[in-house]
Amino acid sequence: MADSRLIERRRVFQQYKADVKERGKPFFPFAMWHDTIMSFVVVVVIIGLAIVWRYTTPGNHHSTAAGWLGKLYDAPADPGTINFVPRPDWYFYFLFYLLRIFKWPESVILGTIGIPTLCLVLLLAMPFIDVRLERRLLRRPVALIAAILAVASMGVLTYRGATAKEALGVENLALVPKWAVKEGYVGKPQPIAGAKLFAVAGCMNCHTYNGAGTSYPGAPDLTAEGAKGKGIAFQIAHLKNPAAVNAGSPMPSFAGLGEARLTSLATFLEASKGKK
């Protein structure tokens, strides 16, 4: 059975070689001419994008403001910064958004490793999964549906990744009084200072809190973090080096905030016992 299929494949390829020899045309000049035109178009498009990138940037073409194609460069990297948005280049948005779908800590490994690895293995194994000789698309319904699903899901994930809203520090800050009422730390200066820090220090680009913020690489909701009874010392140690306390955590270190601010943040987290 398998043997006859092998013979069939080889026969078809022999036929292909014979047909090309008999009816084919030389690569130069016909096909090469088409390749040359296409390559020319590619180079023109690349140059065009470079020109648009620069000449739509406001402010004499060297500010850090965004033109049509985004910023020429952002502010210099600052490892001690307290507000940042971890955002990859646009062609990673599909992976980036996949991480937002798997919000729960137990399933985040699916988004980070599981699904991308599975897709890559399927892609590599394609010629061994689809071993029929049929090449006409309408007679390959499974391949056609798989292709449509793959393109559609990557398109949707890229679009959702591109339009995903980041939590704006100012907007979060306005919510602090409401949180204080809900969580019961009205009038307590340290948790409120911590809450304000939490609102602007980039925490909410990954964590949600009382329905605000966005969930990213599986970062947990912190509305009832204090109810877990982990203690202030644990919270500070975790903020300083998340992976050391919670193995495998993708959260970056916030040690740059300094001891005093970390204590406020930890107090705030411990005061967050969840909605009453």
Binding site: Q14, M38, L137
Partner: protein
């Protein structure tokens, strides 16, 4: 007896052909280029089949602009950002070269996906081109890794923090994860060496792998030929397969002729 005119013509021809003959005798390269240029391709090939060479062109643009950028870029956390500013604002046409590299990356990745889509829709990954499909998938992965490693180099807020989280995500992989993130960072956290490491990965390690893979990819394209569009009425390989070759179609592939045991 030749007239003086023809003698001159012959001498001219001789002078042009001599260096070519010299190279051909020692390398066979002239014959190789001739074979490459005048090899037959199916008569019905399609515009979609220019996507592969378009991808190669985008890669060459990346290589060329990358070499120029490397002349001015300084892979050190203290100088990286200012060297990018210098390239963008001071160096002659620096903005153009950097812009072409920045957006050429996107074009390269889009073209890789489009080329892959074409090969998929044409069913061109099937026998005997399976190995070339695998090489293509590896090239796609390498291209994405180029995107990841190049993104850090401007050393601005966006690139820095995207890379911090990217490395940390690599670290969550079972078994290999921690080693991978340690390798990428050159330590247990992002430090002064990380940038130089990414620079080396971005401009030496992965491009070397990509060039080798492209070489193999093209070798297989030339060896196995390109497919006809599957809808074509006169697609190569669909002719009447009336007489099966006695040797099972192996001649010219892995064996010169029929097998001795006659199973063939």
């Amino acid at each position: 007896m030749a007239t003086p005119d023809t003698t001159k013509k012959d001498q001219m021809q001789e002078a042009i052909l001599y260096p070519l003959d010299w190279i051909e005798e020692r390398s066979g390269l002239v014959g190789g280029v001739k074979y490459f240029l005048f090899r037959k391709v199916p008569g019905d090939i399609n515009w979609f089949q220019t996507l592969g060479s378009a991808t190669l062109t985008a890669f060459l643009v990346q290589a060329l602009t990358g070499v120029i950028l490397a002349m001015y870029y300084k892979p050190d956390p203290k100088d990286a950002y200012t060297s990018i500013q210098h390239i963008t604002n001071d160096v002659f046409a620096g903005w153009l070269v950097r812009g072409m590299h920045r957006w050429g990356a996107s074009v390269f990745i889009i073209l890789m996906f489009m080329h892959m889509g074409r090969v998929f829709l044409f069913g061109a990954y099937k026998y005997p081109r399976e190995l070339n499909w695998i090489l293509g998938v590896l090239l796609l992965v390498m291209g994405m890794l180029e995107g990841f490693s190049g993104y850090l180099l401007p050393w601005d807020q966006t690139s820095y923090w995207a890379t911090v989280v990217g490395i940390n995500l690599n670290g969550t992989a079972p078994f290999l994860g921690p080693f991978l993130s340690q390798f990428l960072q050159g330590g247990t956290s992002i430090n002064a060496d990380t940038l130089a490491r990414f620079y080396s990965i971005h401009m030496l390690m992965i491009p070397g792998a990509i060039m080798a893979l492209i070489g193999l990819h093209l070798y297989l394209v030339i060896r196995l030929g390109v497919t006809s569009p599957p809808w074509s009425k006169e697609a190569a390989g669909t002719g009447p397969l009336a007489k099966a070759p006695m040797n099972g179609g192996r001649s010219g592939l892995t064996r010169p002729g029929p097998r001795k045991d006659g199973r063939g």
